[in-house]
Amino acid sequence: MCDIRTKLKYRTIVLTRMGLLPYLKTLTAHSVNGRPLSLSIQGTRAMAELMSLADAIAANVRDGDSVAFEGFTHLIPFAAAHETIRQGRRDLTLIRMTPDIIYDQMIGAGCAKKLKFSWGGNPGVGSLHRMRDAVENGWPHALGIEEHSHAAMANAFEAGAANLPFAMLRGYIGADLPKVNPMIRSVTCPFTGEVLAAVPAIRPDVSVIHAQRADREGNVLLEGIVGVQKEAVLAAKRSIVTVEEVVDALDPPSRNSVVLPHWTVSAIAVVPGGAYPSYALGYYPRSNATYIAWDAIARDRDTFLAWMQDNVLSGQPGDFARHARPRAGAN
């Protein structure tokens, strides 16, 4: 993996060989105040480093952070969430359109102080019992909520990626949510006078996603239902991507494929099966049976705690490998 230190070293060697370093030092020093330019630019972060999932979480997810573990049904980063729970992170503001089982587990484990979301159910099954227990009964502790519609959340991620302070939409017309959420406001079109809904852009401290694969430079490919993950990564200060595999050549299937270049990602961890019981298109299917079974596990606090002890607290990222499959059609 080519991190920024390697790059700087490489540049120094090449320039010295060319006998131009003294001249260039003058020229670039003036413009960058003695620091490598790219480190001081808004929105440009460290280059992707390949590391273990434990190290990636430890280095990037801190108590009190706002975090988005994204993935719209597909490519949900379960392994990264489990590692975050194991490392005992607290007071997180959890951002996600569909909290899903992944946030039911993090909320039940006591990681969250606030949830920003737009649809909080177990898809096709029913309630998220741990989320409900937190909202209705304050267990394991009180959970603040900031609730939006899907359209507003999707637009807010999009605005974050576009470095805008807010998103606007033709939304919430006749709905009650603006009455209870002060973060839903309005903006007036300066040409037509139409009043549109406005919500703040989402700019997480950290976004965490799962993707099919990365190449050795750290470029990442997403394929299939790509949700808001590209936007989540581009909107965040830091980002972690878990992948099924690292390959020599990324070979995106189309010139217009969804790619995140290595200079948009902080850390990459190889975690085969890391989206289970969600799925990675081309690798393994969604475990709908596990989603159905979760209802009974999460309904009762003790059953939930026992399951978490056995499956998360006593586990490790490598456990997910048993759900992985070789890529369909790969050599």
Binding site: H74, G120, A151, E158, A175, V226, E231
Partner: protein, 257 residues
């Protein structure tokens, strides 16, 4: 086989019949997904189905459990990001028909899927709106499927998650909406449609074997009936077998994984 069908089957098939080949349909999970795919596999083979996960013109062989099962993407013409789905396709005015359901509905087809009780201290915290608030305003028309019952069909909603006809009459137009809003509520007992002027729901057809009194008793407000109330045609053998086949395939698929 006709003559023995469940109320839910009747509801799903009645909903399927409201769809045509021309529909570009924003599909929700559950009864809407079943209805849309029954329509596709019977009288509307060219219907375009869109799920909010970004899958456009999808033709699943089994019903998805979630809104983003791999089956949807693998059988779609193409798949877009979720921001694009909500911006270009839903808000863009491309969807003719949106399907909604909810925990509660009122006489003007407004829906609640957010909370029972006070929002800040809810008695029951429901999943929330998801795509519903903007589906309700941006689709050409809205179809609603819900099983009847006095806890679901209520006099007053504690929370309006998505607007139907609001306070009735021209409320939608007054808010600047150009879309039709709910044009039918298809239940397990009957089909309702809003009055052209007042927009209050009225029963237009009752499913076979259901008494008018049963319908009225399952509603939490004084339910109106249209001047002419017909009997909903019973499911045809073809409709029933298509629905039961896809549900059997679905059960097997979801158990397996």
């Amino acid at each position: 086989m006709t003559g023995t069908f469940t109320p839910t089957e009747m509801m799903t098939i009645a909903a399927a019949r409201t769809l045509t080949n021309d529909d570009i349909c924003f599909v929700g999970i559950g009864a809407p997904s079943a209805a849309c795919n029954v329509a596709r596999l019977t009288h509307a083979p060219k219907i375009t189905l869109i799920y909010e996960s970004g899958t456009i013109a999808t033709k699943p062989d089994v019903l998805p459990l979630s809104i983003g099962d791999g089956e949807l993407c693998e059988t779609a013409l193409f798949t877009v990001s979720v921001p694009e789905m909500f911006r270009y396709w839903l808000q863009g005015g491309r969807i003719t028909t949106g399907f909604l359901g909810g925990a509660q509905i009122d006489r003007f087809a407004n829906l609640n899927t957010t909370v029972v009780g006070d929002y800040a201290h809810p008695k029951v915290r429901l999943p929330g709106g998801g795509g519903a608030p903007e589906i309700a305003s941006n689709c050409g028309r809205i179809l609603i499927t819900m099983a009847m019952g006095t806890r679901a069909f209520v006099e007053k909603l504690p929370f309006i998650t998505s607007m139907g006809h609001g306070e009735g009459g021209d409320h939608r137009a007054r808010l600047g909406l150009k879309t039709k809003g709910p044009t039918a509520v298809i239940t397990d007992l009957c089909v309702m449609q809003p009055d052209p002027v007042t927009k209050e729901l009225a029963v237009v057809s009752i499913h076979p074997g259901v008494a008018r009194e049963t319908v009225a008793a399952a509603c939490g407000w004084a339910l109106k009936f249209a001047e002419t109330v017909t009997e909903t045609p019973a499911p045809t053998p073809e409709e029933l077998s298509v629905l039961r086949d896809i549900q059997a395939r679905t059960r097997n698929a979801h158990k397996a994984a």
